[in-house]
Amino acid sequence: MLSLHHEARTPVHAVPAGLKLLVLFVVGTGSFFVRSIPVLGGALVAVAGCYALARIPWRMAVRQWLVVLPFVAVIFVVQGLLVDWGSAVLVAERIVVLVALAALVTLTTRTAAMVAAVERLLGPLRRLGVRPERVGLVVAMTIRFVPVLKEQADQVRAAQRARGVEYSARFLTPLLVKTLRLADGLGEALEARGVDEDDSRL
């Protein structure tokens, strides 16, 4: 399950959404310049401390990390075999820190506050033709539709299993078709709900 807001009154929840996004951006960018395993390890411990401070139930926290674990494992092995195992540890640490921090931001921030923060942060770019409200809508819709896409992927996999196919890359084709249909329907729904291409608010 993709993380959504976890209601609680903690210092982490109280941090303004804009500041959290800024920290995420700084850590995300900064982590690529850090080449020290202990420093990234320390960052990981710090993020885990923030989870405790935010009183995120450990099951919920573990669920966030389990989703990325297979990807991290593959990247770790490939990096280890192709480059060296030290680099592999660095890359794995970096990904886990970023994903854990991003999940923490999502868990401790209401979507509305996040969208408002994104719109505020992008406000100065309006002069360059960027439409912050539209970016905000995309952020909100991404959070909304990732679980829907996961459900669709589960359905396709279940249908394949029911027909005796355990693992097949061919599951991507029906998933893509379903996703395109969803996108089509979503476009129609947005139009029906008053979101027009030429709307000045979007």
Binding site: A112, M141, R144, P147, V148, A189, A192, D199, R201
Partner: protein
Amino acid sequence: MIELDGVSHWYGQRQVLADLTLSLGERRVGVVGSNGSGKSTFARLLNGLLVPGEGQVRVDGLDTRKQGKAVRRKVGFVFQDPDVQIVMPTVGEDLAFGLKHRGQDKAEIARRVDAALAQYGLAELREHPAHLLSGGQKQLLAIAAVLITEPTHVIFDEPTTLLDLGNRRRIARLIRDMDQQVVVVSHDLDLLADFDRVLVFDRGRVVADGKPDGCIATYQAMHPPL
């Protein structure tokens, strides 16, 4: 009043609606027909989601081709699958979406969202993730999110198809109690039994038009039991 004047529509070379001329003034209008008979296309023409390949559709005098945006503000649309229609992550945010988009101020949005949550029994679910709602709750949210914008007409495209009996009845009651003009496309003949008017579609044409009893009988006669 919804009016269709000489409306035909094609998808590529395939004609899906053929020369429809209708005036829909009744409060509750039902539409039945086989799969592929043109019902959903017909529904999408009524709020300008589609403009007809030929002919004209007017809602309270507004032409869907020239004044589509104004028409969509008057005409709400409820889709068969609420997962497509619910665009925001939580119940409260989705209810607020349409109002925010219409430029309502924050206080008015908060007031109307509170009222809608209470009216549709969703108050406990304000912060609930939309993807974790049951099918019935999702459809209820989809309908509430349309009604909160106070449309004067509401089009339903198979609103009960994905629901169990209890939720079908709940949605049927909600539709029955609505003040707006409603046009309901459905395979659920019970839902349409006490409507004011029913249209039967077959291969893009209206083959029966009148009171539910006669029209539903005509539709059933088109599909005799095996």
